[in-house]
Amino acid sequence: MMYSEKVMDHFMNPRNVGEIENPSGVGTVGNPKCGDIMKIYLDIEGDVIKDVKFKTFGCGAAVATSSMATELVKGKTIKEAMKITNKAVMEALDGLPPVKVHCSVLAEEALQAALWDYAQKNGIEIEGLNPPKEDHDHHHDISEDNE
């Protein structure tokens, strides 16, 4: 498994690590069983994500995707943030090894969970946003035995 330079940069120098006191929204996804937990804090003013922070328990890719996802949404409107998919995160990182693609999915989900939390707290509806899934049962099967 080899990480791109971008991934290594965001892993070694993660942007936006930390917490936000009294966040507008917070989302936690993943579970320790799978080895990744991401927590994203949002500070939203009006329609705009003013600040974003994260904490992550997980592998290099988990940290890097969290970092990149927070970078991508910072300063964006909610509508713009809704367009940040796992693919966008991966591309911004110059790709991920196949076994690590799920980390980018997790980053997308963490972001959306935080937005959902914000929407719930404020009784608003965000177009295209679904409630976070309860448990993540990732299927990491790379065997091709039955390809």
């Binding site: 498994m1 892993f11 069983k33 988990a62 799920h102 990732h138």
Partner: protein, 394 residues
């Protein structure tokens, strides 16, 4: 930046003398040992000498030494070969929950073919209780396969005792000694084993070559059908350079074992104590004393292993989190789960496995860089955040 290799359980560099021993067989003495002319006879002789040497070092007879392509083939052959040969007698196999995947996945495969497998649990230190083996034996039991020493946590099993039970009950006993051979003294007779797997690259020998010891009188079916090599039991043109290299490596390892064991045990315990005294929320995995002289395995709460490895890599330190073989998978180590660690703690393990070239200076460097790395990852961890909040509430 200095580079420190602390992952000797994954693989080792070839000893220069091993390379030296192999070189003549690359371009000069390259004949096929099965042929009859001069150059081939030289290869046959080299093969015989390697076999004799290895047999002597293991307390075996040369005719009990069979060359394979490594630990994985040896394990597959031992288990499938016995299952196949003794299928008239029964279809039950006993193994442990902490075996290497070469054993576990082979057993799972046999389950899909109608065999029944008992996976014995281990205690918190990773040891199988010989009484559990005894209790698991049934009328249809045909094979017991328990590893000599574990590749992740270094725990050494009570092999002699398990072997005695197997012998008394007349059941074939295999041990995966891939991590043990070359590191601790092994005598197949004293250990009461019928089959034993080893792999060259784990003790400064070449990759892609291993041995299966098969005690005289044990029936076994081939795994690799083909030519009449290895007394008709394993086909394939013999990897003469590799075999010569393996024999040389084992010889060197056994010659220096006493000295190396003492040196490595001291270094091991120095690092263990150093980590315990410098970092909180850590746990040493494996047995406190019945462990390989070169194995250190810690769990660091609240953090994940790969991140830890990457940051250590940045500092020039090469280590491992669980078995290197399992890094393709994302599941936490089955060994750490089997000794009772919860999933999140199993993810946060660090394995350091020493070689004889490692020094106290390297250990000191590790003990210097490790604490801030662990702290950095904890500061980033939502699990640590939760823990601290809970502490504040209390």
């Amino acid at each position: 930046m200095q580079k420190i290799y602390f992952d000797h359980a994954a693989t080792t560099a070839m000893h220069p003398k091993v390379v030296e021993a192999m070189v003549p067989y690359f371009t000069e003495n390259f004949g096929n040992p099965s042929s009859i002319y001069e150059i081939a006879r030289k290869n046959k002789q080299a093969l015989d000498e390697a076999r004799d040497k290895i047999a002597k070092l293991l307390g075996a007879d040369p005719r009990e030494i069979y060359f394979t392509s490594g630990g994985t083939e040896s394990d597959n052959w031992a288990i499938k070969g016995i299952a196949n040969a003794y299928k008239e007698k029964g279809n039950h196999i006993i193994t442990s929950a902490i075996e290497h995947h070469a054993v576990l996945h082979t057993c799972e495969y046999l389950e899909s073919k109608g065999y029944e497998v008992t996976y014995l649990p281990v205690n918190e230190h990773g040891q199988v209780d010989p009484q559990d083996v005894l209790k698991a034996i049934k009328d249809n039991t045909i094979l017991i396969s328990i590893m000599y020493a574990n590749n992740e946590i270094g725990t050494i099993q009570p092999i002699e005792e398990i072997g005695r039970i197997a012998r008394e009950k007349g059941i074939v006993f295999h041990t995966d000694a891939v991590q043990a051979v070359g590191h601790i003294p092994i005598d197949v007779k004293k250990a009461n084993v019928d089959l034993l797997s080893l792999s060259g690259h784990k003790f400064h020998g070449p990759k892609g070559v291993g041995v299966l010891y098969i005690r005289k009188g044990i029936k076994i079916k081939p795994l690799l059908h083909g030519g009449a090599q290895e007394r008709g039991r394993r086909g394939g043109t013999e990897n003469v350079p590799g075999i010569v290299g393996l024999a040389k490596a084992l010889e060197i390892a056994v010659e220096n074992m006493e000295e190396n064991t003492q040196k490595m045990t001291e270094l091991r315990d120095y690092i263990i104590e150093g980590i315990k005294s410098r970092i909180d929320h850590v746990k040493l995995n494996g047995h406190p004393t019945d462990r390989l002289p070169n194995n250190i395995n810690f769990t660091f709460d609240f953090i994940e292993g790969e991140s830890l490895l990457l940051l250590l890599d940045m500092k020039g330190i090469y280590a491992s989190s669980g078995s290197a073989c399992t890094s393709g998978s994302l599941d936490p180590s089955h060994v750490l789960l089997a000794i009772g660690l919860p999933h999140e703690r199993a993810h946060g393990s660090l394995r350091i496995t020493l070689g004889d070239e490692n020094t106290k200076e390297e250990a000191d460097y590790l003990l210097e860089v490790l604490p801030p790395i662990v702290q950095r990852l904890r500061d980033m961890s939502p699990l640590y955040e939760i823990y601290k909040k809970e502490q504040n509430l209390n």
